[in-house]
Symmetry: C2
């Protein structure tokens, strides 16, 4: 719970924050039931509707079971991933206790081909800045990263040493607005280029994460393609019966970009 | 919005439901801003805090942008996936407009090996029911499915023709409680067995989805391994800055099961 926003929290949010902290601190262990609604009403001196809103919030986060017809229980925790960790390999590594690294192959300004122009919503052949890096986890090859930016955002990278750290941080520091992102996850075989950098045979299965990031106004600011060695990263998610629609969906082939 | 629960909806939930429907119906198109908070307060005759709760709910679902410092905009819609669609390939196909199919390779009762016993939280060598099927999308090979159940749940499948339809529906009809599930997504090469069924070369990259399903009390009722041809399925997700922790996380290799 951030200090800044605390004053504006709704009561149900405060209760959710208390319960979330109690779960994270192990006061309620995985598999254990939470206190009953009646008990929580007494403890927080509030109405049942407010307690139910707090429980619905925790369910949305995949922290507790459905509670349909019985007490909600704490689920095995899926570590949460911050927005920074979604966009930035560096941030994701740091929050996972891993030392990130990179070996930049090239940074280039070039005209966008048709596919990239469509992904970035810019005219064909408009200039883009592209970065190709091998990423390391604790010094070991883990991922090949292809980042592409329209020139307005990308110009901040042309004057940056991409071996010195996080491009994402550089963009934020330069005032680039990165508001939301869409990721598509699938599997792909290593190309000759991928294989040489990752030190595996060509065709080795890789976990591919394609990402488009947008400003608050919906203008694309990044189109990227990350390919992980399968023993280096996976995705995990909880789903709870009766929950609201989740923000992740499995998409059939014809619908995927 | 289900008819049953409508009477118990909080006001913010009603407003969220109205806005969700308006987005789904195209009244607010992707890229367009939602009305201002002041306008929504007037329209729904409610307080600003309530409108903010409704907006936070939509943001949690990946439907609108962060709104930090400006109006929230409608994002490109990620189709929502129901809990049924998470557990059941049959349900997922139907909701995607695809005709599901299956060719059962075998159904067997056997003793659990150590890995499966651990996943199902049962003693080593305790009996399990296992199903191995090729799954089809519109008549074409798409996925190899390995399902495993402890005997108490699995007994309902031994007396069922697995080529006749959904095992998940059979389990629900038999009163098996499936309350929540955890999925792990990664990439794997096709084994000889996978490759023969999917009609691709051995080692072809496949999108693997391993799933554990649990009762409301947290007892495992299923441990499964689905492997999709990469052109048949992918995962897509929205992430929004400043949002609550999402229920999906990228996990580094050592932490993944």
């Amino acid at each position: 719970m951030s200090q800044v926003s605390e004053a504006r929290l709704q009561q149900y949010e405060e209760i959710a924050a208390h319960l979330r902290a109690a779960i994270r601190d192990g006061e309620y262990a995985p598999g254990e039931p939470l206190p009953s609604e009646a008990e929580l009403c007494r403890r927080f001196e509030t109405a049942r509707g407010t307690v139910r809103q707090a429980m619905a919030t925790l369910r949305n986060e995949g922290l507790i079971s459905s509670g349909q017809g019985r007490r909600s229980r704490v689920l095995d925790t899926v570590p949460s991933q911050s927005f920074d960790g979604v966009i930035s390999f560096t941030q994701w590594c740091v929050s996972s206790g891993i030392t990130p690294g990179q070996q930049t192959q090239w940074v280039t300004r070039r005209p966008a081909d048709a596919g990239l122009a469509a992904a970035l919503d810019i005219p064909d052949r408009a200039p883009v800045v592209s970065v190709f890096r091998l990423r390391l986890m604790d010094g070991t090859p883990a991922m090949v990263e292809r980042l592409n930016y329209p020139l307005e955002a990308g110009q901040h990278i042309l004057s940056f040493d991409p071996d010195s750290g996080s491009i994402y941080q550089r963009l934020l520091d330069s005032g680039v607005d990165i508001d939301h992102a869409t990721r598509t996850i699938d599997a792909v075989g290593a190309t000759a280029e991928d294989a040489a950098l990752l030190e595996v045979p060509e065709g080795t299965p890789l976990l591919r994460v394609r990402r488009r990031a947008f400003t608050g106004e919906g203008t694309p600011v990044e189109s990227s393609d990350d390919r992980y060695l399968p023993d280096k990263a996976s995705f995990t998610l909880n789903s709870i019966r009766g929950n609201n629609p989740s923000s992740v969906s499995m998409i059939h082939g014809e619908m995927a970009r």
